[in-house]
């Protein structure tokens, strides 16, 4: 038995530090096996749902694609123009192909963090491996979809993403359930390695359902002069979502930015944080979070900046908008300076829609409902995220489409 299995076994009953504790036995592990096929031959209810989270079944404007349904890899491909520049496959296949990948596997996320990391090791259901080769600037985004088609299913994926030195890439990941799925559990381990001088922009869009539980566990290592931008969008209801991704700015002049947009509705429970550890000389971190809570939703928006090196600097900005008296937003910003010369700052604000703003827009001819909708949309504006133009337009379109449905 491997060491990671042994550690996982010891942690399989360990509750997570945050979020409601889940009974893992209440979820099913049984599912049909999906056969490998072109995306165009997938049922329309799957391709349509995937499109909602930015996954194009026609693969237009995408450099590479990975598509997993439940526990099966149904498709992977690399566009001709990008062959020899990027690699895209399941992590199972990648581990068979590359012995060295073992050094990356559980290299950043501890397998015994809690029962969910343990579950991902003990009941591992694939996941994707994306690697951008040294010096390659991939002009189109890579896309991956983690789809759940069976009700009450448990899916545990483990993803490894490597941006080799001086490479540049954008990745869009969509996690989504079939319309017939009401409950289930998704556990996603994601480990990012952003090497010297590389730039990785990762965008994850979640589209769950009211009784679904989600436990991502993410960590990134950012080397010298490398940049890691992590965008997270969750606009649909979810029973419980708890995640606290961490990025280690290990290299000198490394850069990390976490952007998130959360819209909590129904009885959603969202506990979402971002942690930046500044370990490199001149490293920089930025966390920007927008949270909207309505109905009976509870949102815990956390941020944790740790300064471990001189000349490092990070800022955290969290804004919460409450649309209902029965909803809750708690902003929890934390700063920990460990050395002289690190500069950590934060600003957090939680409030309701300002009447002054609504009335101002009404004075421009909008109805009260239109004015409120405009303010909420504006609150979720992603232009503050500092994204490349093509990605910004794409995410904006996705956010607007979803916002239109939820508002």
């Amino acid at each position: 038995m491997s060491e990671s299995k042994r550690r996982a076994l010891r942690a399989r009953g360990k509750a997570a530090a945050l979020g409601p504790d889940l009974d893992l036995d209440s979820f099913s592990r049984e599912t049909q096996s999906w056969s490998y096929c072109p995306l165009s031959s997938l049922p329309i209810d799957i391709t349509q749902r995937s499109l909602d989270v930015g996954i194009r079944s026609d693969e237009e404007g995408r450099a590479a694609t990975y598509f997993q349904i439940d526990h099966s890899v149904v498709y992977k491909s690399i566009e001709k123009a990008f062959e020899g520049k990027v690699e895209a496959m399941s992590t199972r296949e990648a581990l068979k192909k590359y012995d060295w990948l073992r050094d990356y596997w559980w290299g950043l996320v501890a397998v015994d963090t809690d029962k969910y990391t343990a579950l991902a090791e003990l009941r591992w259901d694939q996941g994707y491996f994306f690697r951008v080769l040294e010096g390659q600037r991939v002009t189109l985004p890579l896309q991956s979809c983690l789809f759940i088609s069976g009700d009450n299913l448990n899916q545990n994926v483990h993803n490894i993403i490597i941006a080799e030195p001086r490479s540049e890439v954008q990745i869009i990941t969509g996690c989504v359930v079939h319309p017939n799925v009401h409950k289930g559990l998704h556990v996603g381990i994601s480990e990012f390695y952003v090497k010297e001088g590389a730039k990785l922009t990762f965008t994850m869009i979640h589209n769950w359902t009211q009784d679904f539980d989600v436990r991502p566990r993410t960590a990134a290592l950012v080397e010298e002069e490398a940049t890691f931008i992590n965008n997270y969008v969750c606009l649909k209801p979810v029973k419980s979502l708890q995640m606290y991704p961490v990025a280690y700015c290990k290299g000198a002049e490394s850069r990390v930015r976490f952007n998130s947009i959360l819209y909590g509705s129904g009885h959603s429970y969202l506990d979402v944080g971002s942690k930046v550890v500044l370990q490199g000389d001149g490293s920089r971190g930025e966390v920007v979070a927008r949270a909207i809570a309505t109905d009976h939703a509870q949102i815990y928006a956390r941020g944790f900046l740790v300064g471990e090196h001189r000349e490092s600097k990070a800022h955290l900005e969290c804004r919460g908008l409450l649309l209902s008296d029965t909803a809750l937003i708690k902003a929890v910003p934390e700063l920990l300076g460990k050395v002289v010369g690190t500069e950590l700052t934060h600003e957090a604000a939680v409030g309701k829609i300002a009447e002054e703003q609504v009335q101002y827009l009404m004075a421009r001819g909008f109805s009260e409902a239109e004015a409120e909708s405009l303010i909420v949309r504006g609150f979720m504006d992603i232009s503050v995220f500092g994204l490349p133009e093509n990605l910004r337009n794409e995410i904006r379109r996705l956010v607007e489409t979803t916002t239109e449905r939820v508002l």
Binding site: E356, R364, G365
Partner: protein, 258 residues
């Protein structure tokens, strides 16, 4: 333009905010095609009168009526009042993150090549760069940008009746000249009520009549430049000493026409 029909008529209006009386028995009439000025010291009720005309929820009408084009708008929601043809440039507009100035302008001019051309023309008129349209509404705007943004929105709306709340405060000389000329040009064949504290805008705008408001009441009306020169000479203390305020008679101005 026929000047005999009343664009805005305020009749015996009393208003409270948070239980405190801020306007008392205000009577004011702006005939169609006329530009009127509202003078008054700080805290006299100028902006409160504008907010009451607009119908902001904090401003509770205790008695009286507001008529626009012969229609009683006293109980209408803000947006419906505006749709009757009233456009307002606010003195201190709020910041709204994520809502772009362009969103507002496009809500008035629409989409498509023709609308785009019109939008282009408007921002050129007000001497803004195109990029201003993609900025969050009033976020980080300078004093001059705020005023020009407000005027730009009114230009895009093309209302019949224009209310401008201190378009000349906090604006540098170049911007004052620019906005003043734009406003004057726009107000031709329109009706308007302009609030001004120091009267700088009168260098550029041809006004028909001025009113002075003191302690929430319109105390006199008269020729704008005559009233302004008196205020400039003696300040609003003169108004407090004015016989009309004390004895319902003003030697300088005219009796309000209502």
């Amino acid at each position: 333009m026929v000047k005999t029909v009343c664009a805005l008529k305020i009749e015996d209006l009393s208003v409270e905010v948070g239980g405190k009386r801020i306007l008392t028995d205000v009577d004011l009439e702006v005939p169609r095609g006329e530009v009127h000025i509202l003078f008054g010291p700080n805290g006299s009720g100028k902006t409160s009168l504008i907010m009451s005309i607009l119908g902001l929820s904090a401003y509770r009408v205790v008695s009286g009526k507001i008529w626009f084009d012969g229609r009683d708008i006293t109980s209408l929601p803000i947006n419906e009042r505006v749709r009757t043809g009233i456009g307002v440039a606010f003195q201190s507009p709020p910041t709204i993150r994520g809502v772009k100035l362009g969103d507002i302008i496009r809500s008035f001019v629409g989409e498509g090549p023709e609308a785009e051309k019109k939008e282009h023309g408007l921002i050129e008129t007000i001497n803004f760069p195109r990029a201003i349209l993609e900025r969050d509404l009033n976020l980080g705007f300078s004093g001059g940008e705020l005023k020009r943004s407000e005027v730009l929105q009114v230009l895009a709306q093309e209302p019949d009746f224009v209310i401008l709340d201190e378009p000349d405060s906090g604006v540098d000389v170049e911007n004052l000249e620019l906005t003043g000329n734009v406003i004057n040009n726009f107000l031709k064949e329109r009706s308007a009520l302009l609030i001004t504290h120091l009267g700088y805008i009168l260098r550029y705008v041809d006004a028909d009549l001025a009113h002075v408001i003191i302690n929430g009441t319109v105390v006199c009306s008269g020729k704008p430049l005559v009233i302004l020169s008196q205020i400039m000479r003696e300040g609003y203390r003169w108004c407090e000493k004015c016989p009309r305020v004390r004895e319902e008679r003003c030697e300088l101005g005219e009796k309000p026409r209502l």
